[in-house]
Symmetry: C2
Subunit: 361 residues, 2 copies
């Protein structure tokens, strides 16, 4: 229970908004010790007797004092905060289930260490660079999360040059050795999707990929391709899209216009997949009778799509927590814990089904 009401014996002058801020000296005076003693107690350092510690804690509690993050940041040269720069088009930002979940997970890891998360949402690359510079130059944060990693991304090096610690969130197999990485496992989900489709009898399995600049886009495409090869299936057509609904619909039309259209499509995310179903339906192609569709993300709407969407689910919250723990450790100069991320789940719903010949068989 967090209560900051002034202790009854504290003082009658309290409660007025003009109450002076309680500072470490007040606590020290009340406990009859020096400021350093108070500081030591609040930083879990030895050198304070049990009785003194007791008095100090009580005094602090009675006065409602907590160390000022501002003063602490200055004297420690340490912001006790980490940053997240999100570069996304506004439209994509509000569909993407990644960031909200990731941030929720990050908080779990940060709150435990009393770190704050400083957020910056930007629209383009120039603002993104500026954002990292602001973080570093003004010493607002000690480290940053790097998400949406792009091919040839220089941010890991940039961060290092700016003196920021960084944790890269990227597909495992794309994780370079530039700094510590939290590995996503997109490939596994896509592989399972392809295997699932194969087991339903599909042989022409296409892929609609997202914006090609991202390493996770490429990771998913590669996983799709490799799974097909492993299964001895022909490598199907891949169409480049950009994760938006409009692009997913367009890509779907392209695929269905082919002389030999696919009987199944693996999409780079749920939004494109659902838009793809919509596009297919518009032209009389039924899902899943004529076309099976697999998404990626398992957005909360996926079960309510018509038909309910078969898709890949990852535990993004767990990544966030792991990334936060890692970054805090890095910032504090500790060895990052080895994280164990939960495996991806493949969720079979109504948008995938047996090929026509199988069904008739």
């Amino acid at each position: 229970m967090i209560e900051s009401e002034p202790s009854p014996n504290g003082a009658a002058e309290a409660e007025s908004s003009s109450r002076k801020r309680v500072v470490i000296g007040d606590v020290a005076a009340r406990a009859g010790v020096s400021k350093s003693a108070v500081s030591f107690v609040f930083n879990n350092r030895s050198g304070v007797s049990a009785s003194a510690r007791e008095r100090i804690l009580r005094a602090a509690d009675e006065l409602g004092w907590r160390p000022s993050a501002r003063a602490r940041a200055l004297s420690r040269s340490h912001a006790q905060a980490v940053g997240l720069v999100i570069r996304r088009d506004p439209e994509l930002l509000s569909t993407d289930p990644f960031f909200p979940q990731f941030m929720a997970g990050v908080e779990i890891g940060l709150t435990a260490h009393d770190y704050s998360l400083v957020l910056q949402v930007v629209a383009d690359e120039q603002s993104e660079r500026a954002a990292y510079h602001r973080f570093a130059d003004a010493s607002r944060v000690d480290g940053v999360f790097l998400t949406d990693v792009r091919i040839g991304d220089t941010r890991p090096q940039d961060a290092r040059e700016l003196g920021l610690r960084a944790v890269v969130i990227a597909p495992e197999d794309a994780a370079s050795d530039d700094g510590v990485a939290i590995g996503m496992n997109d490939s596994d989900g896509v592989r399972r999707a392809v295997h699932h489709l194969h087991s339903l009898g599909h042989r022409r399995i296409a892929h609609v990929m997202g914006a090609p600049m991202y390493v996770h886009t490429e990771a998913r495409r590669r996983a799709w391709r490799e799974a097909l090869v492993d299964l001895g299936l022909p490598v199907g057509t891949v169409v480049t899209a950009d994760f938006t609904g409009a692009s997913g619909a367009r890509a779907t039309h392209e695929l269905l216009d082919l002389p030999e259209p696919p009987t199944a499509i693996v999409y780079g995310n749920d939004l494109m997949a659902i838009a793809g179903v919509s596009a297919a339906t518009d032209r009389g192609v039924r899902v899943p009778e004529d076309l099976s569709v697999v998404g990626f993300d398992d957005i909360p709407l996926a079960p309510y799509a018509l038909p309910p969407l078969t898709t890949v689910r990852q535990n993004v919250v767990a990544w966030g927590t792991a990334a936060a723990q890692t970054l805090v450790a890095l910032v504090e100069g500790r060895q990052p814990p080895t994280v164990r991320l939960p495996p991806v789940e493949f969720v079979v719903r109504g948008s995938t089904g047996p090929t026509r010949d199988r069904r008739h068989a």
Copy 2:
């Protein structure tokens, strides 16, 4: 273009990660002035000659110096940061288009003033209170945004007692006088939805509302009711849900089980509406032939739902920007600008249609 490469004449010792942090004194020395002069220039204050200003800016640029947010925060007793505490269930968080867009808008308003946004995602009320206390006690932020305002919410008062400025984001008509508010205009959108349905011949128009604790839930319900009354229509059935897909589906079944089921339903958000369509379809009720459906939010998926969803769109980004400008002004003791928010839009798509008798007429 933001570049922090050490000036060519800067020093050869640069680039090493062990470079000492450049401080204001270094800039002052290089420019041959006092620290105060440098400070004045960087705070746009008079008292520095044009030539000195010139030298100072050049020196700072060459050294790549910018005032440290940490030191500035301490000496100004001002964090130059504002906070946003998001309390949401993980599931709802990742569907809600509100927060990403709101945050994107907030950034626009904050970046202009060089403020940072500190974010905290929490799961329950106790953590929420703790989060505000942490913000205030540690002086991490100067003000906060209060979103998802609940009925009988004490956060405006709490914030004041904690010494935090606050901007409340709530429906216009629910805005109390506890602090400054940015008025959302949910009512207008709902009213237009009801009028739209009425013009299509609907007379039994139900409402599926979200979690009843929020003032915006209630604002939408009231708007629905008042619109019906204004039009001389009977007040339909209202079912309480909680903004999740599951609750929307359940509520829809409840409504369709009525002896006289509605011919149209206005939902509190798009997720429930789409889940409602799914539920209706499952039991053979066709949308829009047998049932018209209106959502709220216009999520990016709305155009790709089957059928495409008729819904209400608000410019949440604009709110965010307005809220940020207002909060910064408040924090800096200025008169908040009068904001002019764009009106809501009502987007008619395929999920609403004429009633059966109209169509046959």
